[in-house]
Amino acid sequence: MKLFTYERAASADAAVAEGAAPGTKFIAGGTNLLDLMKLQIETPERLVDISRLPLNTIDEREDGGLTIGALVPNSDLAADPRVIERYEVLSRALLAGASGQLRNKASTGGNLLQRTRCYYFYDTAMPCNKRAPGSGCSAIDGYNRILAVLGTSDKCIATHPSDMAVAMRALDATVVTQKADGDRRRIAIGDLYRLPGDTPEVETVLEPGELITAIELPVPVEGARHLYRKVRDRASYAFALVSVAGVVTMDGDTVASAALAFGGLGPMPWRDPAVEAAIVGKPASDASFAAAADALLANAKGFGSNDFKIPLARRTLIASLRELTGV
């Protein structure tokens, strides 16, 4: 680990005032940042500890939604009775991620900003455009079993590894931030992440020193069925190869509404309105589910060892839709 200076932020205002200086990083649970610092993939010169800021409550808003403080640990969020009752897909996604110990430390904000698990990103002996811009991508022609089939570029094919973020995308969450100049903004989760394009090292629209203070969940969808299905190499304590988060309402046999998001497939929690359009307003059937899978995977591209993800995503989506609709 490279040497750094450490300070504990006394307030969110103090944190953002410090956070914009070059070489500065916030540390919350530290479960991703310290892992990467040990390997010198992240080499901050200064850590601003935000873990004690009073952003650790889950509050009901007047409009009927929930506001989750950025420092609420993943375990507390998963076990919150209001989350279980109204946003079950979020509890399920959190519980499917990491381990009991990690969830106790991992924060809501840190989870959203965790970095890819691409093997070459982790291997400082290998070229990687995300870690060392311009050095090349070892994964495209290398071993890419866990990497992306959607939204890739010729510079990077990494996936975003979070389970929680996939559920948040299906729930249309909003990320609330405070910028270095003190200004606040609200970012729809669909706008938080950026595709790799030519700059895979830039992963989100956040500015240097911009602090996530909260995540807002909108009013829950009434009468919805929730599902988080995660396919992985072992039954627990493994990242997703493919995952599906779904929130669906039915009107008799017809799909009245659907929100579907996907993990393990792209550089961000993936959502595509064409997938939902293929089933909404139609009787739930394997034919419309197949059309949804066609829509999801129309532009999918495998890179060899991850080719299997395309049929796996198709089958996982169809199985998820059968479960969500009861067909």
């Binding site: 892992d35 430390k105 627990s236």
Partner: protein, 178 residues
Amino acid sequence: MKWTINGRSYEAEVDVRTTLLDLAREHLGLTGSKKGCDHGQCGACTMLVGGRRINACLSLAVMHQDDEIVTIEGLGQPGNLHPLQDAFVRHDGYQCGYCTPGQICSAVGMLDEVKKGWPSHVSADLTEVALDDAEIGERMSGNLCRCAAYPNIVDAIREVAGVDDREPVLETAREIGA
């Protein structure tokens, strides 16, 4: 810097990069917690911080100066074993023993989570928590055992959790000289 570990105050000057795990092992002589992977992947370093189980290898010591920290040494000592330590001995819940301190600290934290009604990935109903072998396996998945003592680890935890209706293997650990 100052810490409270197992109810005792400690003071040491350490590099800011020192993890809670290295602090305990290298600076304070508390070598019960083990380093398996140093990357959050094995659970050998599990400690209880503020009553919650965490991976001490992914925690900076400097960040935990105000917390109540408990390591395996604080749970019980020879002659005064914690019920889980006692059960691990009687059920042979280890072979080499390297993962054991982490397993036991993790199990203490895990049983507390069950008491609080926290569900798990395998809970069919997230509002009703009942501990069975599948639940124990899922909830303990953050602790790897290279010797694969898993069946006996589950036996030990099941007994202490009070969800075991089978006869205890041995009355107490002392009977086999532990």
